[in-house]
């Protein structure tokens, strides 16, 4: 007997797999691009859910790691095209256009930056943590604005998408499936992580960190590792985002993007990993619909968010999959 949760998840996955052929058959190729964007931001939101929903760490600077991932791809691609050396690295390695080099580099760079920011920010908790993650993210935002070599405020164009041998990543449908596979892969990995002993520690931190510490658990270390893993996931999303638009600019890491990521997590259902995927789809589709109605769509979205906070607390996934879907 399949549970309601299994039905929702299977149906959702089948819909996502079948979307590109259906979109092409109905003559709506734009839908493939839109849904690629949804999958990418869903990946970023799911990575945020790992620390927000499970660890209880409200980070208002998660988009910074998306930006780090995107800039890693942008900078490596830029130097590979120009044949010039990548600065701040030993030797004169001139970057690479290969996804197998660019994407792990993006993930690694984002994880490293998250490790540093996390180590500083986790000295605090609660509302201090919210403000300090926001402040560090803005610092990185201004840092990239003041980098004239990589376009500063205007950003840089990618000369081509990351190369995957045997795949034409320039093709929207192929790229869509690449995004889907990476998203599902991340979700499976994250699910295994939260079900492990490590995940128990993380959830324990959210409920009662003092008690956990009294039991001899190194809670800060656990939270820091989770923060870095979440940063790595966001870095991967950033690498994909850069590839999709073939363009990277500091706007990716602006704090409103971090705010939108939190919205996706809460809208979809916090602490469920899959929920943020629903949340990302809902927010980006809503944006698509509202921009069709009025150019000033934010004036509708803003009050809508307040209503969601006040009245709809379980999120879309909690509503679809019923009670007990928390640890889906």
């Amino acid at each position: 007997m399949a549970s309601r949760r299994t039905v929702v998840l299977t149906l959702g996955l089948l819909l996502l797999i079948g979307l590109p052929p259906a979109a092409l058959a109905f003559g709506e190729p734009f839908m493939v691009t839109l849904w690629s964007r949804i999958l990418i931001w869903a990946l970023a939101a799911a990575s945020l859910d790992l620390i927000l929903g499970y660890g209880g760490m409200v980070s208002l600077g998660h988009a910074a790691f998306v930006g780090i991932g995107a800039y890693t791809v942008g900078i490596l691609g830029h130097h590979a095209f120009e044949g010039s050396a990548v600065p701040f690295l030993p030797g004169d390695w001139s970057g690479s256009a290969l996804a197998l080099v660019q994407w792990p580099a993006a993930v690694g760079a984002a994880a490293l930056v998250a490790l540093i920011i996390g180590a500083l920010s986790l000295r605090t908790a609660g509302v201090y943590f919210i403000m300090i993650t926001l402040a560090f993210a803005q610092m990185l935002y201004y840092f990239f604005i003041s980098l004239p070599d990589y376009g500063g405020e205007d950003g840089i164009n990618l000369w081509q998408r990351s190369e995957v041998p045997g795949l034409d990543t320039g093709d929207p449908v192929v790229f869509y499936y690449v995004c889907l596979v990476l998203l599902v892969g991340f979700l499976v990995l994250a699910k295994r992580l939260v079900d492990s002993r490590f995940g128990m520690v993380l959830r324990g931190c959210k409920q009662n960190e003092a008690r956990l510490r009294a039991l001899g658990c190194p809670t800060t270390r656990g939270k820091l590792v989770a923060f870095a893993i979440a940063g790595a996931g966001a870095g991967l999303a950033g690498a994909l985002a850069a590839n999709q638009t073939e363009f990277v600019d500091p706007g990716l890491m602006h704090w409103t993007k971090s705010g939108e990521l939190i919205v996706m997590v809460l809208l979809g259902g916090m602490g469920t990993l899959v929920g943020p995927v629903f949340g990302a789809a809902a927010l980006l589709l809503l944006e698509e619909v509202l921009t069709g109605i009025t150019e000033h769509w934010m004036i509708i979205l803003g009050p809508l968010l307040i209503l969601v906070v006040l009245f709809a607390r379980r999120g879309i996934y909690g509503w679809l999959a019923g009670p007990g879907a928390r640890d889906g």
Binding site: L52, V58, L60, L120, R123, T124, G126, V127, Y128, I130, M131, I132, L134, A135, F136, Q138, M139, Y142, F143, S146, L147, P148, W255, T256, G259, I262, V263, L266, H296, W297, M298, I299, L301, G302, P303, L304, L305, I306, V308, V309, L310
Partner: protein, 307 residues
């Protein structure tokens, strides 16, 4: 020469500091007493700036403009408290972040509809547009005016909190909320008033910033984040911490921008020194914040109630 430059930059830092204090005081009061994290505090600053610019241009009087800006911000603050935010005092900070994020989107778009996407500019009022002679160097009178206003507000807040009945209620409300309510004080009304006063100070900051900055959508978020740094450095909930934090952040930021490129020129070529210096100067306040957190994770000053 260097001495004069140093004195001038100290005044600039002081001026930026008191502006940040006007923002931080309201934010820290609202957090300290209602434990509400209000991201939309910067929007009230923006409202103050826009209304001041419009009224000043219409009436020709900057003084009238500032009063109108403060009133508009207080009104907007009181309204959002009554309609939405008072329902969030008991919620966790995540809900508050999301709801006030929604408010920011709303205010930014509303301002864009009412005033258009172009930035507004406001000229310095006639009387204050000159310079004052400080030991041989001319210094803009308007900046001195801002310093004076900011210090007066700081003094006024201290008198209000320490010496008046409302101030006593504010202090009592921040530590023993239920007890104050049980003694017959209308807590809900007290909260609305505190929120409106904080909003008014944000409006004042926006009004005063008008002649120095381009008045545009998003100006509120830039200063909001600086205000967060101030509050983290000073300690949440403490008005004294807000003042010390604001002056520290203002001075470090101003000195970094003025002297870092110059200092780096001694060790590298000028153009590189300017670029690198500007980047590091932009990050200097965040480095300050990290350093303070290393030593005192809860800021330099503890508020009465903790949390």
């Amino acid at each position: 020469m260097t001495w004069l430059l140093f004195a001038e930059q100290t005044l600039n830092g002081l001026q930026q500091g008191v502006m940040l204090f006007l923002m931080a005081a309201g934010l820290t009061l609202v957090f300290g007493i209602m434990s509400l994290l209000n991201l939309a505090h910067g929007s009230l600053y923006m409202v103050g700036a826009y209304v001041t610019a419009t009224v000043t241009q219409a009436s020709g009087s900057f003084g009238l403009g500032v009063l109108a800006g403060m009133a508009a911000a207080a009104l907007a603050g009181g309204l959002i408290e009554l309609i939405a935010l008072r329902r969030l005092y008991a919620r966790d900070h995540l809900d508050q972040v999301l709801a006030t994020f929604g408010l920011i989107l709303f205010f930014n778009e509303l301002v864009k509809i009412l005033w258009g996407p172009q930035a507004l500019f406001l000229s310095t009022p006639e009387i204050l547009s000159g310079t004052v002679d400080l030991a041989g160097t001319p210094y803009p009178a308007y900046r001195l005016f801002i310093i004076a206003v900011g210090l007066l507000v700081a003094l006024g807040l201290r008198v209000l909190i320490v010496n008046t009945r409302v101030g006593m209620l504010i202090r009592a409300g921040s530590t023993h909320r239920e007890m104050v309510g049980a003694l017959g004080v209308d807590i809900a009304r007290l909260y609305t008033i505190i929120f409106a006063v904080g909003a008014m100070l944000a409006g004042l900051a926006g009004a005063l910033a008008g002649p120095m900055l381009a008045i545009q959508v998003g100006m509120g978020e830039n200063i909001l984040i600086l205000t967060f740094v101030v509050i983290i450095v000073g300690g949440i909930g403490s008005v004294r911490g807000a003042l010390v934090g604001a002056l520290l952040v203002g001075t470090v930021d101003t000195f970094g921008r003025a002297f870092l490129p110059m200092a780096l020129r001694a060790v590298m070529d000028p153009s590189a020194a300017d670029t690198v210096g500007a980047s590091i100067a932009g990050m200097s306040i965040y480095i300050l914040m990290a350093a303070v957190l290393m030593i005192r994770p809860r800021g330099l000053f503890q508020a009465y109630g903790g949390t």
